[in-house]
């Protein structure tokens, strides 16, 4: 294990920010720390970096207990959300900072900075001060500085948050490869589920100072541990409907607008339990009224969303439903319509706790294979 955290706790005054966080990241792997703002992500990164100390718990890097080890001795590189460039130094001196700390020769520093600058396409602005750089260039300079010292552990605190949408998209495609080439152990903090899924070998979902789920992107997306996580992953947000499983002739099912949606046999034990049915918008599709098992509804609006078409509809019972389909495929723009549910992708949560009720749906099986 290159990085391991054991039962980390941290409070500021009466405010518990981290409440027993444990994590392990193998060498060369990327763990995405995902959660809403105020979940404790940034505090956790700072604890690993050593700029603040935990109240309890152990941080280990490469098997070495980091308690009492100064930040400069931890072998860490870090990129900050607000870039945190040294305003009085040129981009070159910023990037060179970890190398000067390592007392490298002038020529080694020069070549180290140059090769990183080439990789990140900022060679032409190396002489500029931070205030003369565009946001994108600042962000790349900050990344270059984090990488320059060839750190064993790389901490990236939402580095794409403050750049524009287009650049963020480009960096999302480019950055994972760049990071992999470093052979570093990476913790990447983000609030954007797409970044989380694109970057992470594993995703740790953190909320209220606790890790709520750790898993591969597939596991988190296909079998979210609770409704909160299900809502955080996916755009448009997952449809959550209050249901109560019933037993039918062919096994357990739930009724959505009086239409039975079959559940796997493993849910036989959940009959009459108050539940929430989670249906991803892409698991719902339009069908002709003649198709058996379709649910009637009224389409309110339709909107394009990143190469998808999102439809907002209302069922006969007044439940709002969102459906999504690939852009360019046909569908009703307004008025009455019918939909079918891909039952194999349905998720069942306990209504009281919001926890996922384990059953072997196809989606879950798929997650395990992946």
């Amino acid at each position: 294990m290159s990085l391991s955290l054991t039962d980390i706790r941290k409070s500021f005054k009466d405010d518990t920010v981290l409440d027993g966080v444990s994590l392990e990241v193998p060498t060369g792997k990327t763990l995405v720390l995902f959660g809403p703002s105020g979940a404790g992500k940034t505090v956790l990164l700072r604890l690993i970096a050593g700029v603040i100390e935990p109240d309890a718990g152990v941080v280990e890097i490469a098997g070495r207990n980091m308690s009492g080890v100064e930040p400069e001795d931890r072998g860490i590189g870090m990129a900050f959300q607000n870039f945190a460039l040294f305003p009085h130094m040129s981009a070159l001196d910023n990037i060179a900072s970890p190398l000067t700390a390592q007392k490298q020769s002038k020529s080694a520093i020069q070549s180290g900075v140059q090769s990183l600058a080439r990789l990140l396409k900022i060679e032409h602005v190396l002489g500029h001060k931070p205030k003369e750089l565009s946001n994108g260039q600042k962000q790349r300079t900050a990344l270059a500085r984090a990488l320059a010292g060839k750190p064993e552990v790389l901490l990236l605190d939402d580095p794409l948050r403050n750049v524009d949408a287009k650049l963020r998209f480009e960096m999302r495609l480019e950055l994972p490869r760049l990071i992999k080439d470093q052979n570093a152990t990476v913790i990447y903090v983000t609030q954007d589920y797409k970044e989380a899924m694109a970057f992470g070998d594993e995703i740790a979902v953190i909320n209220d100072g606790r890790i709520q789920q750790i898993g591969t992107p597939e596991q988190v997306y296909l079998t979210p541990a609770n409704t909160d996580i299900a809502r955080l992953f996916g755009d448009p947000v997952i449809n959550l409907l209050e249901v109560t499983p019933q037993m039918g002739a062919s096994g357990p099912f739930v009724a959505v607008s009086d239409q039975p949606v079959p559940l796997p046999a493993s849910h036989s034990g959940d009959i009459d339990r108050p539940c929430i049915l989670g249906l991803r918008p892409e698991a719902l599709s339009f069908a002709s009224p003649e198709t058996p098992g379709t649910i009637p509804m009224t389409v309110e609006t339709e909107a394009p969303l990143n190469e998808k078409t999102v439809t907002l509809a209302v069922t006969a019972r007044g439940r709002e439903i969102m459906l999504s389909r690939p852009a360019g495929t046909p569908g009703p723009r307004s008025g009455p319509a019918h939909m079918v549910i891909n039952a194999s992708a349905a998720l069942l949560f306990d209504r009281a706790t919001g926890e996922l009720i384990q059953g072997t749906t196809d989606a879950q099986a798929q997650g395990k294979v992946a």
Binding site: A165, K166, F169, M197, D235
Partner: protein
Amino acid sequence: MSETKLRISNIDKFYGAIDHGVHAVKNVSMDVEDGDIVALLGSSGCGKTSTLRMIAGFEEVSRGSISIAGREVHMLPPVKRNVAMAFEGYSLYPTVTVRDNIAFALKSSGKPAAEVAGKVEQIAAMLEISDILDRYPSFISGGQQQRASLARALIREADLYLLDEPMGQLEPQLRTLLRGRIKFYIKERGLTAILVTHDQTEANALADKIAVMEDGELQQFASPDEIKEAPANLFTGTFVGEPPMNVFPAKARSSDQALVFDLQDGSELSFPRSVFARDLHDRIMALQSVMLGVRPYAVQRSETGAQARVLANQWLGDQSHIAAEFAGGALVLVEHDRAALSEGDAITVHLDPSDLHIFDPASGVAVSHGASLAG
């Protein structure tokens, strides 16, 4: 023909002296039809907010005229323009509850209390703020304040609704749903709204027409579909659409049967001459160097076509975003199934001439769009 609700005629905005100060809005004209939602879209400093503030009356019009519902308003103070505005900075009255904030305008217009109360409840439910109606603005989150501010504007009866970055602070999970509801609300009542946003996703989702602005100039004013299929220039083409449009510099060359584009890495794209109209062919040849654009959704993997090598394949739950090395750059394509590709895989991509956008690299102006190629 529906009537024109808002007419902006050749307006300029200078900060400082006319013709000497900062020229924030440059000769912008547009007509907004009754019942349309129009998005002013652009990056910060493009002039979109200045334009909105001129419509609202918070900013003087340096030159040109604005009329709302057939009335010249650019000399009138904001209160006389009959517009409702939701501010980016929330600007709720801090001393009264969210409920009273929302009800304020209706109450002062003398509507019966019961009717006002009902309307407030209804709009609060739509914007998911029913549970915070009795709190004070400083005790609710930024996203909630923004929704309250939106409710306060939408509940009013006005000729025009002006929404300044209405969803910037909103929790991401709520965004798509609330966009749908707000669009339905506006459409159902036939309201006319102008929204300012830097987020092209939001503009696409809400607007009937998008006014793309950059550097104070109106770049294009058209429906989302039109901007997607026929962007007026390189800026519009690459600014609107996520994933963004792929662009490649190329040199055009004509042979007997084909129009060939030489790409930066030495490879070439060749199309039968017959797909290009005669005059278009001549224009491309006159330019020689062109910028080719192709939208990610129009790039298909196929048996035959151009070779590319996968750089990244990212599965996002319901889409795969694939980046492939092509023509010395990265070509992005979107698939709706999970693509079984990993870094280094060779793929063959088909670029259909009907999906190809050609731009003049010097001016950025579009020369042709796929749809207009043949004929």
